[in-house]
């Protein structure tokens, strides 16, 4: 994985000094809140429902054991002993004091981490495939390019005051595990018929009030042209994105307004007008970064069926659900679920973080990944170590055998934590997980994505869940609007609303009902989204509302 050199370190330490000065000027009143706010946001510090929330960047979701221990230390020293892993592969702390923030950032800098550009109208954390480097279906490790884009986008002087936030995702696999189509820019690395490496460039994706799937603006962009081409996309957005209405300011709105062909023409025109810098990424730099993502020196091992599966049904369950085939014979990808049934999705205590760091060192060459589904991954586990790993995870409450299943719910923090929310999402996730796990439906349903957002900003990605729930306020009470048929991967699709919203009391039953219909109607083990595509919403509406009209909203 990428390791900082003197330049990377200098930047994060200088940034800490700069922010320390800015905080000092704010506390003494030399900076007003209005002036300080964008500076605070560009260092990932939000003023939230309970206190200041700090969002720390985990570049493309990759962490070393030392860094994960550093995150545990932040939780203990500056927060309340836990952190929350997000749908953008970052981590959030909810109780940071402003006067402590410079020290917290200094502690992060000590482990080569930062909170730069995790908020604000700038280019955010570049996300990627959580299985990069270890999945069988990739062209090369997508994180090479994620790291190149990360450095290029960090404190970019031209693009630090965009109309709105900007999110880039990179994948290099046949199977899109990075949700490229719901990003402002999605980059899919592949090899063309001449075996040249290049990107399909997609632009204008995003969720929220006006969800859109990204459109392809370049079928094939040679890798050497990536940075100058990105500059042209960002420049067109910077110049033409709306600045009069924050709800209409994302690049997806611009692509809609111009039409994808006209948008593409603008980008290509800027690109053809010539570089705005006299600098091309040296080949040596690409090689240097690529070398850092070279696979670990795996000891050669034979393929192995993990022992003890027959003897231990719980371990067998876990292997079936949470262990994913690895590129290298004898190894496996182990998913550490942060979704214990009845627990808080995506949260981990400082003790759990330390435990995972230890396990990473023992079993995974010291490397951990964060997924955008709010789970952790140990990417390099020898199959013969899986049983011992599972036992250790069990001791720390980290062995839920539910990866990708109904109780592996993506939930934003919701009204329990977030001042933007209309409704709580975590208790809804808890009740649903408990119901589905208890009744055996989870096991029967198999892979199923339930995604819950507490408000229209859709941080829970509800639009792209098989079952999506959107928290709304109805007559002063929390209610949940359900969508069905969403998908974040290669067959990306936005879910459709089924009908009137459900109360907090009704929503668990409603989800169970949907799954019952799915189980009754699915063929050939298809996903729920495929069933919806095939049979439409009618059968679901009938069971939910007793009519295929979707019910009327109660007064």
């Amino acid at each position: 994985m990428y390791a900082y050199d003197q330049f990377d370190r200098a930047l994060v330490h200088q940034r800490v000094a700069q922010f320390r000065d800015q905080v000092s000027r704010r506390l003494s009143g030399r900076l007003s809140e209005e002036q300080f706010r964008p500076l605070r946001l560009m260092n990932g510090l939000y003023l939230q429902l309970h206190a200041y929330m700090l969002r720390v960047a985990i570049p493309y979701g990759t962490l070393s054991a030392r860094q994960l221990r550093g995150l545990a230390g932040i939780a203990r020293r500056f927060d309340r002993g836990y952190g929350h892993f997000t749908t953008r592969q970052n981590i959030q702390y909810n109780w940071i004091a402003l006067e402590d923030a410079p020290d917290a950032l200094a502690a992060l800098a000590e482990v080569d981490m930062h909170a730069i550009q995790t908020s604000g109208n700038c280019i955010r954390n570049v996300t990627s495939d959580p299985f990069a480097g270890v999945a069988a279906d990739e062209v090369e490790d997508a994180r090479v390019w994620a790291e190149i884009v990360r450095q290029w986008s960090t404190l970019h002087p031209e693009f630090s005051f965009l109309p709105r936030k900007f999110k880039i995702a990179v994948s290099a696999a046949a199977d899109d595990r990075a949700a490229l189509r719901i990003h402002d820019i999605g980059l899919r690395l592949f090899r063309n018929d001449d075996n040249e490496a290049g990107f399909e460039v997609m632009a204008g994706g995003g969720l929220g009030r006006t969800p859109r799937l990204a459109r392809t603006i370049r079928d094939f962009l040679p890798t050497a042209e990536l940075l100058p081409y990105l500059e042209s996309v960002l420049r067109v957005y910077n110049q033409h994105g709306r600045r009069d209405n924050i709800y209409k300011a994302r690049i997806k709105i611009l692509v809609d307004a111009l039409g994808v062909e006209a948008f593409r023409d603008e980008v290509e025109a800027d690109y053809a007008a010539g570089r705005c810098d006299a600098f091309a990424l040296p080949a040596e730099e690409e090689r240097r970064i690529r070398a850092m993502f070279a696979p670990p020196a795996y000891p050669a091992l034979p393929a192995e069926t993990p022992r003890d599966r027959a003897a231990d049904p719980a371990f067998d369950d876990w292997v079936k659900a949470n262990v994913v085939p690895h590129r290298v014979v004898g190894y496996a990808i182990a998913v550490i679920s942060l979704k214990p049934v009845g627990g808080i999705p995506g949260d981990a205590s400082a003790d759990q973080m330390d435990a995972v760091a230890d396990l990473a060192e023992r079993y995974s060459f010291g490397e951990i990944r964060v997924t955008h589904t709010q789970n952790l991954i140990l990417p390099h586990v020898a199959q013969r170590d899986l049983y011992a790993l599972w036992q250790a995870l069990t001791a720390h409450g980290l062995a839920s055998a539910n990866y990708g299943r109904a109780s592996d719910i993506i939930a934003c923090p919701g009204l329990d934590y977030c001042s933007l929310a209309n409704a709580r999402s975590i208790p809804v996730a808890q009740r649903i997980a408990e119901r589905l796990a208890a009744g055996g439906r989870e096991r029967e349903a198999g892979t199923l994505g339930i995604k819950i957002s507490g408000c229209i900003n859709a941080c829970g990605h509800h639009h792209v869940g098989d079952i999506g729930l959107l928290g709304v306020e109805k007559n002063g009470a929390e209610a949940y609007q359900m969508t069905l048929g969403g998908d974040a991967g290669d067959r990306a699709a936005l879910g459709a609303i089924v009908g009137r919203a459900f109360s907090a009391e009704e929503v668990t039953d409603a989800v169970e009902t949907v799954i019952d219909v799915y189980l009754a109607r699915r063929v050939n083990g298809e996903r729920l989204a495929e069933t919806v595509r095939r049979i439409g919403l009618g059968p679901f509406k009938e069971r939910l509302y007793g009519t295929d009209e979707g019910g009327k909203d109660r007064p």
């Binding site: 506390l27 009143g29 206190a51 009204l415």
Partner: protein
């Protein structure tokens, strides 16, 4: 006071640590609704908001705003909305982290 009138309190976040606070007498800010200033009229609320604005520009608090408050049977002030109740008591899913607010 007529039954239709709504009581209002002023809440904000403390600048230094972001803690949720409520305007009390004498321009003080406290982490509890108990004993905080309650406005019974629009004029009173406006006066409190002015005090709050002064506190914001004096770098004591950030983002003050008025909230609806009701009196419970024991005569203690409670926020009227779920959102404000969560702000005062902490996340409903982590009762160990909240304040024991009555």
């Amino acid at each position: 006071m007529s039954e239709a009138a709504t009581l209002k309190a002023i809440t904000a976040n403390r600048l230094t640590d972001g803690a949720v606070v409520y305007l009390a007498d004498g321009g003080a800010w406290r982490e509890t609704l108990r004993g905080c200033r309650l406005a019974q009229s629009a004029e009173e609320c406006a006066a409190m908001e002015e005090v709050a604005r002064w506190a914001a520009s004096s770098n004591l608090v950030v983002g003050p705003y008025a909230i609806d408050v009701t009196m419970d049977d024991a005569g203690a002030a409670r926020p009227a909305s779920l959102r404000e109740a969560i702000r005062i008591e902490g996340p409903t899913v982590r009762p160990d982290l909240g304040r024991a607010e009555g």
